[in-house]
Symmetry: C2
Subunit: 258 residues, 2 copies
């Protein structure tokens, strides 16, 4: 049985304030915890059902992670999910700070104030699928360790580096050697471009798009064309993660899978 203090500590990690204070976040679900077990993240402790513990005993013992058997009713109290899963891991927030390894080559994402946790998580999952291992986020973006972000990554958090930084400064420097592509109303048709293998794809805020301070750093303005009779009302925009997916697919499709 969990102690009152354990329940209090883990539940508190739903809130940003306590994640900052303790330097920890929570990850829930079998797939997510398995991916994190095999990643650079350090798991502080695991709360799990008896059957989960039986199944993962060897791996968890190898890694010397304390595991607490947790009843369903207790899991409901510590979980951030509506329907709790059999396992919850408390994970140390790594001290990445703003250290940026200069990208030697490849494709990168830069996010200008993405505010919706589901969008950020989904974008991390898209990056993972398309082999993009570094994402730069403006400092005003939603916090990476928000449980909704972590869940939406479906484990891709374990494989993609997300770096919060002053995006204007960072892109100013990087744009000297790597082109920056961004989407704008009135940009050029994405599907009619020859796209480079090395590029920073800049994604704007859900309602405001790309901010003016970043706009002048954009090498090429792109647009995802809509389709349908011009006289018909239609969607004004695409969701930020949906636009990211279409752009990443277009950049990667010409490239051979290494």
């Amino acid at each position: 049985m969990l102690s009152k203090n354990q329940i209090k500590h883990v539940s508190a990690l739903r809130l940003k304030k306590f994640r900052g204070e303790y330097g920890q976040f929570i990850a829930e679900g079998e797939k997510l915890v398995k991916d994190i077990l095999n990643s650079r993240f350090r798991i502080v402790e695991i709360y799990a059902s008896a059957s989960w513990i039986t199944h993962y005993r060897t791996l968890v013992q190898q890694k010397e992670i304390p595991v607490f058997e947790t009843l369903h009713g207790e899991m409901e109290r510590i979980s951030a999910l509506t329907t709790p899963s059999p396992v919850l891991a408390v994970v140390k927030i790594p001290d990445t700070g703003c250290r940026i390894q200069d990208p030697a080559s490849g494709l990168f994402l830069a996010l200008d104030d993405i505010r919706d946790p589901g969008n950020l998580g989904t974008i991390i999952r898209i990056a993972d699928w398309f082999g993009i291992n570094t994402i730069f986020c403006s400092e005003q973006s939603v916090e990476l360790y928000n449980p909704k972000v972590i869940q939406a990554t479906m484990g891709s958090i374990a494989r993609v580096s997300v770096i919060y930084c002053d995006l204007v400064k960072t892109l100013s420097r990087l744009s000297e050697t790597i082109p920056v592509f961004g989407t704008f109303l009135g940009g050029e048709n994405l599907f009619e471009q020859t796209l480079p293998a090395e590029c920073i794809i800049l994604i704007g805020n859900e309602s405001k798009g790309i901010s003016p301070e970043l706009e002048h750093l954009v090498t090429k303005k792109l647009f995802i064309p809509s389709f349908g009779p011009a006289d018909m009302g239609k969607a004004e925009s695409l969701n930020a993660s949906v636009a990211t997916a279409i752009i990443c697919a277009e950049f990667r499709k010409g490239q051979v899978n290494r």
Copy 2:
């Protein structure tokens, strides 16, 4: 000031049971209500701030829609949103039933048990962007009038017809004249196909994919290739709405915008 009965009635519409009983759903936010005002939907009544009413008075009077001035505190009680907007419309659920107009030509989506409200709403928005005006949903899919679906459509609900039906029966019939394309692990590379202008794109459930009963109706199996070193762990799948977006973009890109 709203009556107790009004508050009770509108709040009840957050629940599927009462949406079914009253034949009504709620739509919130300036853009969404504006799009619905200009659509085939019939608005029963509107709850709005004084300034919204001033701004839309003429349009609302033309349409003879009862409008109730609503204070912020009252809006908080009737709204399904965490942060209520200045306007909430109670809308009549149209009696579409299972009537299916046989698609004469074009591109269609068929959704096999999409369960997440955000996914369904986002897919409707994607369909709107790419000029797809009919979506077939299996009867086990998430309910269209769930407030989270309605909000995620960002107004596209006003322009896309969503038809719930026995998907096996419907696709059996339609597949006699229109090819059905679906994504499967091990399918053919989406980006290496010549795609037809007339097609049903079948999207599978978030965790189970396309069900066996529908699989044998699929004319061509597609796959969205991932990218990156083969020896690296990577995302196992893409989110259902993200996959839909990439596929729809690929189908539409070769076609001239009419």
